[in-house]
């Protein structure tokens, strides 16, 4: 029984952390129409940043300042936001897909740095020994697992609440206005470039928060934790849940993480020995199929954005496109 609860807590903690990432992506993609091709890099920046500031010192290793968790986490978030700001500054005024390419590039570059800059990131073996917040005070492993889950859910709740406030404020309406029709939004006195940049930075900072929590949970981070597939998983979560709907984003995170975990378990148990090396590929194909399938057959996801806004979306879209036809 304890084992079961313990496992469920573990599962829910991971799903909760991923749900925070999905919420960050939803602000960017769902509400502002920005494509982030390197989710894993912003998550990773939060993770490594938190680790460097809050970890224990090691010989010949940069960082290890043993900052209290909250400050270390804040530092990780700032790192994620900073990277987002630089990329955003360079790309957000250009054609929309430059951001996709540049963020994908960030992810590739970030992976290079984590694998190669040993003095900074520990290289392929990663960084270990993060002092988990309040672990000594709680002691018991089982209780700590539940405590940590509680902490993740509180952060998740806070991010959800904050984003709901944000997207239903005039600010959030301005973001959506830009997504639907940039020219019209500009004529209403909005500054699309600045709003987009803000949204992109805030969303990436939220991903950084999740990265910091991840490090605290595992007390360890390495390039293996930041495989490119994470970006795909987070996308799948958002598209399944429903872009532009924060409840959907959270739902999608739990559903997809559940499906991922279950499929991994089933494959390791039932796939023939010869196939064991390839179970990852099968799971990747499944994730890819979920993304493409949803886009083809149910792009609005399980919990769609409100109908009213969708109608204006199609109307606004039809205008410029057909005008483009001479």
């Amino acid at each position: 029984m304890i084992g079961m609860i313990s496992y469920l807590a573990f599962f829910a903690t991971m799903a909760g952390i991923l749900a925070i990432v999905v919420l960050g992506l939803n602000l960017q993609w769902g509400y502002t129409g920005l494509f982030n091709g390197g989710v894993v890099a912003f998550f990773g920046a939060g993770a490594y940043g938190t680790m460097l500031l809050g970890g224990r010192p090691e010989l010949g290793q940069f960082g290890g300042y043993e900052w209290p968790f909250v400050f270390a986490l804040a530092g990780g978030v700032v790192l994620a936001a900073l990277i987002a700001w630089i990329v955003g500054m360079l790309t957000l005024r250009l054609r929309h897909d430059y951001l996709a390419i540049a963020t994908f590039g960030v992810a590739v570059a970030f992976e290079s740095v984590t694998r190669n800059a040993e003095w900074l990131t520990g290289g392929a073996k990663g960084l270990r020994g993060f002092p988990r917040p309040l672990e000594a005070a709680i002691g018991n492993n089982f209780a700590y697992g539940l405590f940590f889950l509680g902490m993740v859910l509180v952060v998740l709740g806070a991010v959800y609440w904050g984003l709901q406030r944000l997207v239903h404020s005039p600010y959030g309406r301005a973001l959506r206005a830009i997504r639907e029709d940039e020219t019209a939004a500009r004529s209403l006195g909005k500054n699309p470039a600045r709003l987009r940049l803000q949204s992109f930075v805030i969303g990436s900072a939220i991903m950084g928060v999740a990265g910091g929590l991840y490090v605290a949970f595992y007390a360890f981070v390495s390039p293996q934790d930041l495989a490119p597939i994470l970006t795909f998983q987070v996308w799948a979560m958002l598209i399944v849940g429903g872009a532009g709907n924060n409840r959907g984003a959270v739902l999608g995170a739990f559903l997809i993480w559940g499906a991922w975990t279950a499929s991994g378990f089933a494959l390791s148990k039932f796939a023939p020995q010869a196939m064991q090396l390839y179970t990852g590929s099968i799971q990747y194909i499944l994730i890819g199929t979920v993304i493409v399938g949803m886009l083809l057959w149910r792009p609005q996801g399980l919990l769609p954005e409100r109908i009213v806004t969708r109608f204006t979306k199609t109307a606004a879209k039809a205008g410029p496109t057909s005008k483009g036809a001479i």
């Binding site: 250009l94 054609r95 929309h96 897909d97 430059y98 290079s112 990747y284 194909i285 493409v292």
Partner: protein
């Protein structure tokens, strides 16, 4: 130094071949296609299959053109791989992108292309395995061109460079000397006006996928011939070919060619000072530099 530049030119030629189709597709269909580089992998593996098939059926084809390791079987297989890859690009467009194009915005296309890339790469992994493979187990000896500075080059590399340049030259002639080429350029500049001028858009889209797929397949084979073949081949070329299109300016075929060489040479030179583990990040640095200095690339136009 010289060696780095020579190696950079060779890689650059392969990147250029890959970038030509990408820049056309990105410009014509208005989306960054992250599945595009998988065409290099599809081409390289298709050639592997047909190479084995021809060598098995007609052993006489399986002798290398010395000093190359290239065999007649592989040369034939490459041509077939170009057609197959072009057809795969058309089929993928028909199955996925065309449907999404009809009802959603460009970002959904970008999104879908990531999904397609993931599927293609892992299907290739399932079929061919993770392991790196070679077309030929003959050892390709490098020729010492100079001892000081040291300059080594393999005959296969010279062949690849010549063949890549020949393909690019041929495509240049098509673009500038045939009315089909005019039509391609017309669609790239102004699709709506091209239609009014009697160009059937859907036919041109198919043509661009065929050409892009064919050139990418050649690029994939050329890379595999001078290095090795693995399912991550496409993924590894993704950022370089994007960098080449951005350096050259999206929509400019000549820009993509030049961009490919610039990316190849710059990456080669950078690796003189940086550890080779940073190689994958080099195109990203180049992209950032271009965005900073000249966001629309060398030959691009501001369409915003």
């Amino acid at each position: 130094m010289i060696q780095s530049i020579v190696d950079g030119i060779l890689t650059g030629a392969i990147i250029s071949l890959g970038a030509i189709g990408l820049t056309m597709v990105m410009h014509m269909l208005r989306f960054a296609n992250f599945a595009y580089a998988e065409l290099l992998a599809i081409g390289a593996y298709a050639a592997l299959v047909f190479d084995a098939l021809f060598a098995g059926l007609l052993p006489v084809l399986d002798t290398a053109f010395k000093p190359l390791t290239l065999t007649a079987a592989l040369a034939l297989a490459t041509i077939i791989a170009m057609v197959i890859t072009g057809a795969s690009a058309v089929v993928i467009d028909w199955l996925v992108f065309k449907r999404i194009r009809a009802k959603a915005d460009a970002l959904s296309m970008v999104f879908a292309s990531f999904g397609v890339a993931l599927i293609v790469r892992n299907v290739l992994t399932l079929i061919f395995g993770h392991k790196a493979q070679l077309y030929s187990n003959d050892i390709a000896f490098a020729v010492v061109l100079s001892r000081d500075p040291l300059l080594l080059i393999k005959p296969d590399q010279v062949f690849v460079l010549v063949a890549a340049l020949a393909l690019m030259g041929l495509f240049h002639l098509v673009l500038t000397r045939t009315t089909f080429g005019y039509a391609l350029r017309a669609v790239a500049e102004n699709p709506a006006l091209a239609q009014v001028s009697g160009v059937r858009l859907s036919a041109m889209i198919t043509a661009v996928w065929m050409i892009g797929g064919g050139l990418s397949a050649a690029a994939g084979v050329f890379y595999a011939l001078t290095n090795h073949l693995s399912p991550v081949l496409g993924h590894n070329f993704l950022l370089p070919v994007f960098a080449a299109t951005i350096v050259g300016g999206i929509g400019s075929v000549h820009g993509a060619v030049l961009g490919g060489f610039i990316v190849g040479i710059a990456s080669g030179l950078a690796l003189m000072v940086l550890p080779s583990g940073y190689a994958p990040a080099m195109p990203f640095v180049i992209i950032l530099a271009v965005l900073l200095v000249r966001p629309h690339g060398l030959f691009g136009e501001d369409h915003s």
